[in-house]
């Protein structure tokens, strides 16, 4: 039993911390999210330069030999600074699909682009009717010569406006919600028949609605076995959940620090409001919510390699914990900051908004509770 970080992991955290302290203060972030672009490619290039985009890949694949714990470290620090750049989509998700399901050729062709920061990816999986069910697909891929033709519609594809490449789930056989028949494809966003409509999200990011109209892809676009993609999709979304959990604990940590600090300095009725027991207990509850979330985040990141059942329970459990804790900590941080907590000018509301959206991503508390109880 050991919950300590290695020297390399601590070094990685320090690297991320010093870069973000230098380049990712809240005011800069706020300005960037309001520009037309909404992100900073030059920061992405720096992530690559510092090896962050290589951290979780094995050395064999051109990475630094890390894994989930490295993702966790990066994501926690990203959470503390509300980083909008698509690390989860590109490194965790696309990188994960290639690592777990990609052929040697696919890995060699595509992972260097991720590690080097040249290629940004997005994950087009959700559909309007499907809600959080990863198998509920009306997007189809039909065999067409040696390749496939894709038709369908994907909703709220985060980071897609910045991406060159997409991971797309589509049905190659079976009924709309069958476990069998789900396949995973690599699609160039610039391919003929792909059209996107972009828009901002409430947490300062960008997303697209994507229509696929007779989009032709080759046989080499398929990741994993045809029709057998769902297990892979579940595994990789659990890895994304593990990364989002880490981001969430970063957000909560900042909110708790800010709230305690504020309650120590804000005076009403002649005393710092932190002297009022009702607020003290509230902050203790916020503290405990964060600690419990840290525990679940460690657990899910340590269990990603276990059996499907164990992994599912760990991921669903972590998602439930951070969903509930994120809501509580976010709401109470706003409440204890009073009117200031409501403003766009203060970072508190922005953490709260991000935590709210983390609950929505890949299924909220109710969805994950159901998933947990069905896995057990």
């Amino acid at each position: 039993m050991d919950f300590s970080f290695t020297e390399e992991q601590t070094l990685l955290r320090n690297t991320v911390q010093s870069l973000l302290a230098d380049k990712y203060d809240f005011d800069t972030r706020r300005k960037v999210t309001k520009t037309a672009e909404g992100w900073r490619p030059e920061i992405w290039a720096q992530f690559a330069e510092l090896g962050l985009l290589a951290a979780p890949f094995s050395e064999e694949l051109g990475g630094l030999g890390g894994g989930p714990i490295e993702n966790m470290i990066v994501m926690e620090e990203f959470g503390r600074h509300l980083v909008v750049e698509p690390y989860v989509e590109t490194v965790v998700i696309a990188g994960g699909f290639l690592r777990e399901g990609g052929t040697k050729e696919q890995q060699e062709a595509l992972i260097p682009g991720i590690v080097g920061g040249e290629t940004v990816w997005a994950f087009a999986y959700a559909e309007p009717q499907g809600r959080y069910n990863l198998a509920d697909l009306t997007t189809t891929a039909k065999k067409d010569g040696s390749g496939y033709t894709i038709n369908g519609y994907k909703a709220v594809v985060l980071g897609a406006p910045w991406a060159q490449k997409l991971i797309v789930t589509a049905r190659t056989s079976g009924g709309q919600r069958d476990r069998d028949g789900v396949s995973v494809f690599i699609v160039d966003k610039s391919a003929a028949g792909v059209s996107t409509r972009d828009y901002p999200t409430v947490d300062g990011r960008r997303a697209s609605e994507i229509t696929f109209e007779n989009v032709k892809v080759g046989a080499d676009a398929l990741i994993g076995a045809e029709g057998k993609g769902l297990a892979l999709v579940e595994k990789i979304t659990d890895e994304a959940i593990a990364a989002l959990s880490a981001e969430a604990i970063g957000c909560m940590k900042e909110l708790n620090t800010a709230t305690v600090e504020y309650c120590k300095t804000r005076k009403q009725f002649g005393v710092p409001i932190g002297k009022f027991q009702v607020l003290q207990h509230r902050m203790v509850d916020m503290f405990m919510a964060h600690e419990q979330s840290v525990s679940m985040t460690y657990m899910v990141n340590l269990k990603l390699g276990e059996s499907d059942v164990e992994r599912t329970k760990a991921a669903a459990g972590a998602k439930v914990q951070i969903g509930k804790a994120g809501r509580f900590v976010g709401q109470q941080a706003v409440q204890l900051h009073g009117g200031m907590g409501m403003t766009d000018e203060l970072n508190v509301g922005h953490y709260f908004k991000r935590l709210t959206m983390i609950d929505t991503q890949f299924g909220n508390v109710d969805h994950q509770l159901k998933r947990y109880s069905e896995a057990a």
Binding site: Y132, V156, L158, V202, T356
Partner: protein, 403 residues
């Protein structure tokens, strides 16, 4: 005890329902769902002006000042019908806040001068209470008013300081303002209640953008603002009494029962349209029970509010029990928006255009999902404003339980 409507009351309900149906502007349909931070001044006032013409603008005022003389039940029906039709809510600052202060504590001159503009909607009022250093501890406010006299201005006050969280001050003609007139008295005893013309030199309004992207609140800076002494309500240094009277009214209006009923109905519509594995979300045990719990909480609050109103009509209150209405009412309003975010799923992430919208923005997802998360973020204000919910708990603990 009887909770049923009489035949006369049912007839009254039909009358107001018919009036709303034929007089509420079509273009403003759904107005209740739009944040005031994204509506024009004229749009916000449209329904006000129609009701003024009809003579129904202040059912809760005494008849001599423009009230309708309706019973508590009729007022209840009126609120219900407005919520049912989703009419845009009337601004409370003149009608429910300063109006009653003026007719209760103001002199004849002031009543004549200010009440007509409040009723017609020609004067837009804002509330100058909170200050950057005085939120929950409102009585610590430091905006100063010093009595002066000059040939040109006559007897007047010179006001210096600043107010914050001033809702819709960007449109306001007048502000009712708490100022410190006796710096040496105990906190509550040196406060006066002044009416300030927003066009007076020395007033600057600066927008505060809230996290949902709306411009609803402002900071108001006051620098050597001259206010004629005729604009003092009641007695100098007795302003806290009037301020508390006003807050009591604010609290009872804040329950928003009828609006919450409608909001729950809308929530159910969303949950019926959203599918989980092909079946409506509303049909799942976990979601339908959450909605049921909300409805039950709201039923309890509704009857609690009716009990409070009934007591009020017998000349008691609004007492400290009004704090229950504020706490429970806002908790329910917040919970509804929280569940709406859960219900819409992935499309909750979409940022609906708020400020500087051109109307050409692409907003994906079903109509009902638009702005759901922003409404949820916006509604967090309700447990902070009007005396935070923590302060309301203190009021009940002290005034009701005697702790």
């Amino acid at each position: 005890m009887d909770m049923r409507f009489s035949p006369e009351e049912l007839a009254f309900r039909d009358e107001v329902r018919e009036f709303i149906a034929s007089n509420y502007p079509q273009e403003l349909k759904g107005g209740a769902r739009r944040s005031r931070g994204e509506m024009s001044k004229e749009d916000i006032l449209r329904w006000h002006r129609i009701l003024y013409k009809k003579g129904w603008i202040v059912p809760h005022w005494p008849v001599e000042y423009g009230g309708t003389g309706w019973t508590i039940t009729q007022r209840y029906i009126w609120n219900e019908e407005n919520a049912r039709a989703e009419t845009s809510p009337l601004l409370p600052f003149g009608l429910s806040m300063v109006g009653p202060v003026i007719y209760t504590f103001g002199n004849e001159e002031q009543k004549k001068r200010f009440l007509p503009g409040i009723l017609s909607g020609d004067d837009w009022w804002c509330q100058g209470y909170s200050e950057p250093g005085s939120g929950s501890d409102l009585a610590s406010l430091r905006t100063k008013a010093v009595r002066a006299k000059s040939e040109k201005d006559g007897d007047h006050y010179i006001v210096n300081g600043g107010k914050t969280w001033t809702t819709l001050a960007q449109f306001a003609d007048w502000m009712f303002c708490l100022v410190r007139t006796d710096p040496n008295a105990k906190a509550q005893e040196g406060i006066s209640f002044l009416l300030i013309d927003m066009k007076t030199p020395g007033i600057t309004v600066r927008p505060i953008i809230t996290m949902d992207g709306a411009h609803e609140v402002n900071e108001v800076f006051l620098e050597d603002v001259k206010v004629p002494v005729e604009n003092l309500i009641g007695e100098e240094n007795k302003g806290w009494t009037y301020a508390k009277f006003l807050l009591g009214n604010e609290r009872s209006g804040i329950a928003g029962v009828a609006r919450s009923k409608k909001a729950i109905e809308r929530l159910k519509n969303i949950a019926n349209a959203e599918l989980i594995d092909g079946a409506p979300l509303m049909k799942t045990d976990e979601f339908s029970r959450k909605v049921a719990e909300l409805e039950i909480d709201l039923s309890a609050l509704e009857v609690t509010e009716l009990r409070t109103l009934a007591a009020e009509s017998k000349g008691r209150g609004p007492g400290p029990e009004a704090s229950i209405l504020k706490i429970k009412g806002t908790e329910i309003q917040q919970r509804i928006t929280e569940l709406a975010v859960e219900a819409v799923g992935n499309y909750a992430m979409v940022q609906a255009p708020r400020m500087e919208a051109t109307g050409n923005e692409f907003v994906p997802g079903p109509d009902y999902s638009t702005g759901t998360a922003q409404d949820y973020f916006n509604m967090r204000k309700t447990s902070i404003y009007g005396g935070s919910n923590e302060i309301q708990h203190n009021i009940i603990a002290k005034m009701v339980l005697g702790l």
